[in-house]
Symmetry: C2
Amino acid sequence: MHIIFVGAGNVAHHLAAAFEAAGHQLKQVFSRTLPTVAQWPFKTEFAPTTAIEQIKPDADLYVIAVADDAIPDVATRLKVNPQAIVVHTSGTVGINYLRHFERHGIFYPLQTFSRLVPVDITQVPFVLATNKPDVLQILQNIVATSFRARYYLLSEQQRQYLHLAAVFVNNFTNYLNIIANDILAEKQISFDLLKPLIQETAAKICRQTPLSAQTGPAKRGDRNTLQQHQILLQDYPPDFAQVYILLSKLIENKFGQ
Amino acid sequence: MHIIFVGAGNVAHHLAAAFEAAGHQLKQVFSRTLPTVAQWPFKTEFAPTTAIEQIKPDADLYVIAVADDAIPDVATRLKVNPQAIVVHTSGTVGINYLRHFERHGIFYPLQTFSRLVPVDITQVPFVLATNKPDVLQILQNIVATSFRARYYLLSEQQRQYLHLAAVFVNNFTNYLNIIANDILAEKQISFDLLKPLIQETAAKICRQTPLSAQTGPAKRGDRNTLQQHQILLQDYPPDFAQVYILLSKLIENKFGQ
């Protein structure tokens, strides 16, 4: 297939690498900013462009991988041939923003991408939705055959709940790590000490259910430790104690007899 | 060395396996409960026991690996020869509960252990503290030479802050996964979809700093998504929205311009 990327950020990079590795041809790439598009490392038939009007209309597949809030505008300005498929890669933006394209869909990779770290695309779950069965067939083939990854067909509502759940396990977990990092830095302790525990916490949740993996003073109802921790937290901004108290209370409620 | 385990839970199991693999001899094991001690899978010179008075006094090293709140009582009742080293494996319990032993210390493995899952002991950081330099030398040798793992010398206060930080990255992270699991279950979405993201979230934090790894609507100040998520959360117990609102607010404060 001939593919054009609308967007040149982390998601676009890793998807482009996967498409290229599978033998698809990258035809062009668009980014609104010159530095981003200038750093595009993949071979394309046509020069990268910062002008959306210069995007060629005759590719087979257009992958819109720009920031969520830029999708409506980009989708409005993108002109493609009627048989072209246009997808976006967002977990939250509605499929309806693409409805003026004859053949359109969702191509949402549920993963966090870092620019410089290669991704094993076979381990990325893709959430798909389309307006036409034959478009769905094509997207399924890309995921299953080109990427050798798994796809999931979710409703619009399910995809939004999935994105919400992803915020809890990714964004909020990361913030807990920021707090832990600050707790340690203040006491001259290296964050490295926690890294094996962080890895194993994730591995354990994937082997068993989160419910059965829960441990700790709040689960045990160990009031001494809970109280001692709140005393220790007095050395820090009140935010940390707020998080500690709320999450401990909810864990206690969940597991309390 | 001849080693006796006081306690036969997850920590004791994995440490005993590491000691045995390194060629040390397990002399005996104690547990207060018959089923636990009966399931002890390691060869010992003397029979496992549920009576603390039957613990032999002449081992080289006693590893107290019982629940935190049982340590004071167990330590009081344990009788050993003066040259024996007695350590406990807790992140929170003070070293002072061992002060009646001539030679004592802390031997705290910073990891979460699951009974049936083998542990790579070389990847477990050990926090050490002792009352005597020669005892420290012996514990360092065990970690560095027998286990080929890393040790860290922390003060009593540092160890407690480290344990507090571990609660954030392990217990609280796990609870966020419980919420995510509940969000998905209600909408008939498999938790499996989130597993690659959970793994990569942990991997990313270990490659870069938590601060630089932060992403998401709260960090971007994306009010539309934050508001939409709160509407989605109306389908769930108010706890979930409470967590969402607090953590989003703190992330916004941290990163807001």
